[in-house]
């Protein structure tokens, strides 16, 4: 077991209803996994509990890695006083300089290094934000809609690049794109509405890797399974 949420109970302050009641889920292996579900079921809340930003009323999060999982989300902004290139240089540890250059190229961001964050498109902003997390020392990263507003082709390329470069890291990908989740993720934990039981259903994704073809029939079956679970 690499990451486990055990009997999590959580409600937001002022709310009478529990968002999570004895929620249990686990990820046994590193790789690219997903938290999927309709809006409002608590994907981001669960991500914040896992990363330690929210404290549950009951239950525990067990993580067999260094520190806490990192949590990045798509609304984050870089400070406006320097260019994105200078910012990246500052937040990249010395031993990850080469990795940074590799990712900048893979994410197709070389041309915007001299620009300020506010001058970028939403897709470019999200890619830069994700990139600065990837150059940190981490054992697990939660990507909460981290590739929103990025075109499908670039998104696929980025996900395959991440899977190739970080085979031993645990990724939890939060997305509303069922095709993407079914194609690229291994374990897909589908969170369901508070009135449904069980609250979480696990679906096996296709875990597509660079250079490998996806069986269209199997992919469709996975997508159907996810949609039925949700």
């Amino acid at each position: 077991m690499l990451l486990e949420c055990h009997n999590i109970q959580f409600r937001y302050p002022g709310s009478e209803t529990l968002l999570f009641h004895d929620l249990h889920l686990k990820f046994d292996t590193p790789g690219f996994h997903a938290l999927f579900g309709p809006s409002g079921v608590g994907k981001s809340s669960l991500a914040k509990i896992i990363s330690g930003h929210l404290v549950p009323e009951g239950g525990v999060v067990r993580f067999n890695g260094k520190g806490r999982p990192l949590y990045g989300y798509n609304l984050e902004r870089l400070p406006g006083w320097s260019s994105v290139g200078r910012h990246l240089d500052r937040v990249t540890p010395g031993h990850h300089r080469a990795l940074k250059e590799k990712l900048v190229s893979a994410f197709d961001l070389e041309a915007i290094m001299d620009q300020h964050f506010s001058q970028l498109s939403l897709g470019q902003q999200n890619r830069i934000n994700l990139l600065r997390y990837l150059v940190q020392d981490f054992d697990a990263l939660i990507m909460d809609e981290s590739l929103a507003n990025v075109d499908e082709k670039t998104r696929g390329h980025i996900l395959l690049t991440i899977k190739t470069i970080f085979p031993d890291v645990l990724f939890l990908y939060i997305s509303h794109n069922v095709v993407e989740v079914a194609t690229f993720c291994r374990d897909i934990q589908v969170l369901r509405g508070t009135h449904k039981s069980p609250r979480v259903v696990k679906v096996q994704g296709r875990d597509c890797r660079s250079g490998a073809d996806v069986d269209r029939q199997l992919l469709q079956n996975t997508m159907l399974e996810i949609m039925n679970a949700a």
């Binding site: 990363s51 990192l70 949590y71 990045g72 989300y73 609304l75 984050e76 902004r77 870089l78 400070p79 406006g80 006083w81 937040v91 300020h116 934000n129 600065r132 997390y133 940190q136």
Partner: protein, 248 residues
């Protein structure tokens, strides 16, 4: 920015004078109650230059008082930004003290310190300090989660970086607060001079009041307004220049 402020002041001032003249004509009041244009012009020639010197003297005290207040408000605001007992104490104290009319304790300051430069400076600084402190504490204690999140996640957040992020994100707000506090500092200095000082435009207004010379008071008001407009325009320009340079 600067020109707009001057235009706006001139328009309001001229409207005010026009209203007085309309009242004078409508009620058939003598020059002793409301002076005519010629009496006003005579006062400009008579005391104009002296009032320029007086208003600059008042502005000097107000600027020093404001700079001291800004420095103190930033220092205490940064210390009191956190959700600790000290932070809460600073917020509650600032909120309560700024609700009290500081000018009411001005006589005590004059009794203790006399009617010199220090008393004027102290009153000017006190009048603009507490509203400034309240605004600075409000700005500095408000997190910018979308920017700060990454630094907290990766253990890079330091108090200097936190202050830098919050200052940068609220630079327009801070500029507005500082520009607004210039009026308070000027008002504080004039009130101090009005009460007991022996220099500055407030002192000159007090003399004109004893002489019941509305023309001189109108000239003094013009000098105060135009000087304050230029000063506030310069502060706004500095604020936008700082933002431009910082974001380069």
């Amino acid at each position: 920015m600067l020109l707009r402020r001057i235009y706006q002041f001139l328009m309001i001032y001229l409207l005010g004078v026009l209203c007085l003249l309309v009242i004078k004509v409508a009620a058939d009041l003598s020059d002793y109650v409301i002076p005519g244009i010629d009496a006003l012009w005579l006062s400009v020639r008579d005391v104009g230059w002296r009032y320029v010197v007086d208003v600059l003297d008042t502005l000097r005290v107000a600027v020093i008082g404001q700079v001291l207040s800004i420095g103190m408000a930033l220092f205490i605001g940064i210390l009191g930004r956190q959700a600790t007992w000290f932070g809460s104490f600073i917020k509650v104290a600032a909120y309560n003290v700024q609700a009290y009319p500081i000018v009411a304790i001005a006589p005590i300051i004059f009794i203790l310190l006399g009617d010199g430069f220090v008393s004027r400076l102290l009153i000017a600084a006190m009048i603009c300090y507490f509203p400034l402190l309240l605004s600075v504490v409000g700005i500095m204690s408000q997190p910018i989660p979308d920017v700060e999140h990454f630094y907290r996640q990766t253990g890079r957040m330091r108090w200097q970086l936190e202050v830098k992020i919050r200052s940068f994100e609220n630079l327009s707000k801070l500029t507005t607060v500082i520009v607004g506090s210039a009026t308070l500092a000027m008002a504080g200095t004039i009130v101090a001079e009005f009460i007991a000082a022996s220099a500055g435009i407030g002192y000159s207004i007090r003399i004109a009041l004893y002489q019941s010379d509305l023309a001189k008071i109108l000239v003094a008001l013009f000098m105060i307004g135009i000087t304050l407009s230029i000063y506030q325009g310069i502060l706004e320009w500095v604020g936008s220049a700082v933002k431009k340079v910082w974001a380069r």
